[in-house]
């Protein structure tokens, strides 16, 4: 076989292998087995814009990849020196360059990129568009959980403060105002939109929208210290009517604790937890705790003051969420679903595990003010606290 034939065979085989494996990979990445953070399975309009653009880029890149790599393989076989070659035989022609060719392959990629640039600019300019009736939610990143603040009636006062799970109506634009309370974090729900950093002292916009109701996973993607890898969040997108129900529940008081364990738990909460955690209306040292519908937005550290991390999630409607501890642990035995409240049974084991020693569940440094300390609670106290906490809905 001559080098020429061999080179053709190699080139054809390589082309087939590249195309098949590329197709398999893309299929793998987008197949129906959708993993929660998959960047190639959009469920919202912004993620769709990105996906369209990404496929254009991938398509062009695939063609270039194929051309260059196959050319290299072809040349490597075609122009390999024969062992029998001696100096003076088969010496290559000394080509120093072909200017027209080089100008050509400077201009052609530039033109292709210019085409791509048009798509790119178009998409960039669409990313921050939101409808006039968009809901506004403040998003505050902190080590290592997310807080969400809603002003439901537009009076400029915060009406709802919750954590880790952002609830929004389906098929409705939501304007996020992303901020940080300590270090830089990044808010990312890959199925709905790209990511946006939460930077101390700044407020960054991001628009979310989901076509259908659903629960969409997210992950902090700017390195933010010890528990960065498990700083998760969820977006729960509800049908419009159920979203209204959710708002109603979140702006009313939870039921007062009734049995002895629950009341003891509430007392414990007032003594041990109110230094950092807020339940609307309850203050440290309360003799006779009474809920209020409106949270105190200044509770804990104030937003924007970097280098202090003493703020902890508002727990007023804890059980309206599906997860806790930076969305690491499940609150119910049922997975999150697009319903106002999880229909499952509270996962008291997870709550107890967390209260026993939070540092065992996820890496934190409470001595340095980062994360929840071990409160040194007895098993009885833990039971009482959990009994109280699961009344918070």
């Amino acid at each position: 076989m001559t080098n020429k034939t061999k080179a053709m065979i190699w080139a054809i085989v390589a082309t087939v292998v590249f195309i098949v494996s590329g197709w398999l990979m893309l299929r793998g990445a987008t197949s129906s087995v959708t993993f929660p953070l998959n960047t190639l399975s959009p469920h919202g309009v912004k993620a769709d814009y990105i996906q369209t653009l990404t496929y254009w880029v991938f398509g062009i890149a695939a063609v270039v990849f194929l051309l260059v790599e196959v050319a290299i393989i072809w040349m490597v076989v075609r122009f390999r020196a024969e062992d029998s070659d001696e100096e003076g035989q088969n010496e290559p022609r000394q080509v120093h360059g072909i200017t027209s060719l080089e100008i050509g392959w400077t201009i052609v990629p530039a033109v292709i990129l210019a085409g791509l640039a048009v798509l790119n600019v178009n998409t960039i300019l669409k990313m921050e568009d939101a409808s006039a009736d968009a809901i506004e939610v403040e998003v505050i990143g902190q080590q290592w959980w997310w807080e969400f603040r809603y002003d439901t009636n537009g009076d400029g006062e915060v009406d709802i403060i919750t954590a880790n799970q952002l609830v929004m109506p389906a098929d409705h634009d939501v304007n996020l105002k992303i901020q940080s309370n300590d270090v830089i974090h990044s808010f990312w729900i890959p199925t709905l939109n790209g990511k946006k950093d939460a930077v101390p002292g700044r407020t960054h916009p991001l628009v979310l929208q989901s076509y259908e109701p659903g629960v969409f996973e997210g992950q902090c993607t700017e390195f933010c210290g010890l528990s960065h890898g498990v700083m998760r969040m969820q977006v729960k997108s509800l049908p419009e009517a159920e979203y209204e129900d959710w708002l109603d529940i979140m702006t009313t008081n939870p039921d007062d604790p009734s049995d002895a364990d629950q009341i003891a738990g509430q007392e414990l909460f007032v003594q041990q937890c109110t230094g950092c955690h807020q339940i609307n209306g309850i203050s440290p040292g309360d003799e006779d705790p009474a809920y209020t519908p409106i949270p105190d937005p200044d509770y804990g550290a104030t937003v924007g003051s970097a280098l202090s991390a003493q703020n902890a999630p508002n727990l007023t409607h804890l059980m309206m969420r599906d997860t806790f501890a930076g969305s690491l642990l499940a609150l119910y035995d049922e997975p999150a679903s697009p319903e106002v409240m999880n229909p499952g049974i509270p996962n008291t084991n997870n709550l107890k595990r967390w209260l026993r020693n939070p540092e065992e569940v996820k890496p934190m440094d409470p001595e340095n003010g980062q994360g929840m300390p071990n409160m040194g609670l007895s098993e009885e106290q833990i039971d009482q606290l959990v009994a109280y906490l699961i009344t918070l809905k």
């Binding site: 990979m25 072909i98 791509l116 300019l125 990511k195 960065h228 924007g304």
Partner: protein, 688 residues
């Protein structure tokens, strides 16, 4: 000596007059052989070799860190490493690979080859060259000593504020990061200035800029980038150091500072840094591929021009690291467009290498394999780069494993493969022996397999949403399989690196048993360094080479027929120099670079632990500066044994015939004495 009149421009005053008038307190060391000579050497070749050896050592350190990372991530929920330790390890891995491996390995080649490729005797400022080596090496050791003093840096190599601040990273790790990088930055700045001056002023007659080898060109561009990029990171590191050590608030938003300041400063340095790391490897490939294709580099002006274009455009794209940072639509637009178009000059390079191979007679030595490997792998890194030049796509990809895949295809598939190619290619020139080809090919193929197994799957992981810098991951995200594959790949890489080390050892043993000198030109190569014996004589060239065209050495060996095909016109032995020149005046060794360098880590420890401790370091530096200045220009015994009598010197100390435009003016600096004596000598040892 027929062309001596052309060379008299090189005849600047030697060390003779001042050697008689020196202050006499500090005599210079004289040894040029033996282990002690390595500590006082100012020889660019020895310095280059030390850069290379130290960089390879740190390559093993960084590689070990990488293996720990991959072992931890092999399975979900692994608790081999704590999050705290993992954060230190990935930070140290990155800083080590960037500042302690790729940059110094490139510096090794730059130091060793640059003077040879432009036909010079040494760099412009030989003592400064030694200084930059020692400062860098001691800075690197200082930086790694943090492992023993409370833990490594844990804020990521990008060290975003305020997470890198003392409130969130209370250990001393980030102090070592700030001060260590400052120290190494001084080394790089000194070296960059030195090499820039060398290229501009010490080219041999006839070596115009557009006749310089592409490696020299790329290295030159890198030095210019360094000269401008390092001040930016220096400022950033100073601010960080003041924030951490002295309670400043440059990055504290609650006190009017701004974390964005750090991000911008870091990436204004950080992006040119990418090109600082990759362009030397591009240079290596541009030397290797023509040699083993038996063809000139295709489109030399385009190769040089695209390098320069990358150098310029590299300054206008830094904020593409910040597309998700929230810097605003217009900034995103501008930087996204700029970044897309930097793909053009890079693409030109890839296509020109391909065109160089086209129609050639390709010999697949290990060096060539690594170079072709770079072209194939860098293409992948370049293409994934375009996919996040497009800003909206980047907001999905950034800070995921997709980015990790991308920059490893660029830095490992680019820089590291290129530098390995260079090691195999220039090893005979540096050490007078070959690296084994059989083991070399095992090294190459295992490295290619291991590399693609490690970093290929990371594209998939990133697209499936796996975030970077996480010490663990959970079941159910689809991360398990590809992570395991990547870990297997990492250990394959470790095997290939082991084979490389074995190859060094085995080649040395084989050479001991049966010494075969590779001769001046083992690869039938093209540039000036192949004109002189291997290993390179201490004085480099027997006589100054007068260059008439690009690829001068090649064209002395080969012409071409009317068909453009290669025709031998002279045997290599006739064209090459034979060594054995005597009486060539070289810069004398010196103690002071090392003494001065020792002061830097001492001051560093002082800054971190107790300011008083900085005093001895500062004093040492002061003493070294005095020693440096007072030191006589020559060792007492090292006189010119000038056959033609004293140099023609006029009353101003200028040589009588400093006229030719080709010979560049003498370097003016405190080191000019050395530069003069090293570079412009009248002695021409008779050849043959």
């Amino acid at each position: 000596m027929t062309v001596v009149s052309e060379r008299t421009p090189l005849a600047l005053p030697g060390g003779e007059p001042s050697a008689q008038n020196h202050l006499g307190v500090f005599t210079r060391p004289t040894a040029t052989q033996g282990w002690k000579s390595w500590f006082t050497t100012v020889d660019h070749k020895k310095i280059g070799i030390m850069y290379g050896a130290a960089a390879l050592f740190f390559f093993l350190v960084g590689g070990l860190e990488a293996l720990l990372i991959r072992t931890q991530l092999a399975i979900p929920g692994s608790d081999l490493l704590s999050a705290e330790l993992y954060n230190q390890i990935f930070t140290m891995h990155a800083v080590t690979m960037v500042f302690l491996v790729v940059m110094p390995l490139a510096a090794a080649f730059a130091n060793y080859l640059l003077p040879l490729q432009i036909g010079a005797r040494d760099v412009a400022f030989p003592r400064m060259n030694a200084l930059s080596l020692w400062i860098w090496l001691l800075g690197a050791i200082f930086f790694n000593s943090s492992w023993l003093l409370g833990g490594g840096a844990d804020g990521g190599w990008f060290a975003y504020a305020p997470n890198s601040g003392v409130a969130f990273s209370p250990s001393h790790g980030m102090d070592f990061y700030a001060v260590g990088l400052l120290i190494m930055g001084i080394a790089s700045t000194v070296s960059a200035v030195n090499l820039t001056v060398t290229v501009l002023n010490l080219r041999t007659p006839g070596m115009t800029l557009m006749r310089m080898p592409v490696f020299t060109w790329m290295t030159f561009i890198v030095q210019v980038l360094l000269v401008f990029a390092l001040p930016v990171i220096t400022v950033a590191l100073f601010l960080l150091m003041f924030d951490r050590l002295f309670g400043a608030t440059f990055f504290d938003a609650s006190k009017g500072g701004d974390p964005f300041l750090w991000e911008h400063l870091f990436w204004i340095f950080g992006h040119p840094e990418v090109y600082i790391m990759i362009l030397p490897a591009f240079g290596v490939v541009s030397e290797v591929i023509p040699v083993f294709s038996r063809k000139p580099i295709f489109g030399y002006p385009f190769m040089v021009g695209s390098g320069i274009a990358i150098g310029f455009m590299g300054w206008g794209v830094w904020a593409h690291h910040m597309f998700a940072s929230g810097m605003g639509e217009i900034s995103v637009l501008a930087f996204s467009l700029a970044t897309m178009f930097i793909a053009v000059p890079t693409g030109v390079k890839i296509l020109n290498w391909c065109a160089t191979m086209y129609g050639g007679r390709l010999r697949f030595t290990t060096a060539m394999l690594f170079s072709v490997g770079l072209v194939a792998m860098f293409t992948i890194g370049g293409l994934s780069g375009v996919s996040h030049a497009v800003a909206p796509a980047d907001t999905q990809q950034t800070d995921t494993y997709y980015i990790v895949a991308h920059f490893h295809y660029v830095l490992f598939g680019g820089a590291v493969l290129g530098l390995f190619s260079g090691i195999y290619f220039w090893y005979p020139k540096m050490f007078g022996m070959f690296l084994g080809e059989t083991l070399g090919k095992w090294h190459f193929w295992l490295m290619m397999i291991g590399f693609n197994l490690t970093f290929g799957p990371m594209h998939m992981l990133g697209l499936q949403g796996m975030m970077r810098r996480t010490w663990t991951y959970s079941d159910g995200y689809g991360f398990n399989t590809w992570n395991l594959v990547a870990t297997i790949g990492a250990f394959t890489l470790a095997v290939s690196v082991t084979i490389f080390l074995v190859n060094i050892w085995a080649s040395y043993r084989a050479h001991k048993r049966n010494p075969v000198n590779p001769g001046p030109d083992p690869w039938d190569a093209r540039s000036l360094e192949w004109m002189i014996p291997s290993p390179t004589p201490e004085y480099n060239f027997d006589e100054t080479v007068v260059v008439e065209e690009f690829d001068e050495f090649w064209h002395r060996k080969y012409g071409h027929d009317e068909d453009g095909r290669l025709v031998r016109i002279a045997p290599t032995e006739e064209v090459a120099q034979h060594g054995g020149a005597t009486g060539i005046h070289l810069p004398s060794p010196s103690y002071w670079p090392l003494v001065m360098a020792v002061g830097f880590p001492l001051v560093g420890y002082g800054l971190i632990f107790n300011l008083w401790w900085a005093l001895p370091g500062a004093l040492l530096m002061l003493v070294a500066i005095y020693g440096w200045v007072m030191e006589p220009p020559d060792a007492p015994s090292d006189h010119h044994d000038d056959l033609e009598g004293p140099d023609p010197v006029d009353s101003t100390g200028e040589p009588a015939e400093l006229t030719s435009g080709e010979a560049q003016a003498s370097a003016e600096s405190d080191d000019a004495e050395e530069a003069d004596s090293s570079e412009f000598t009248t002695e021409e040892a008779p050849v043959g």
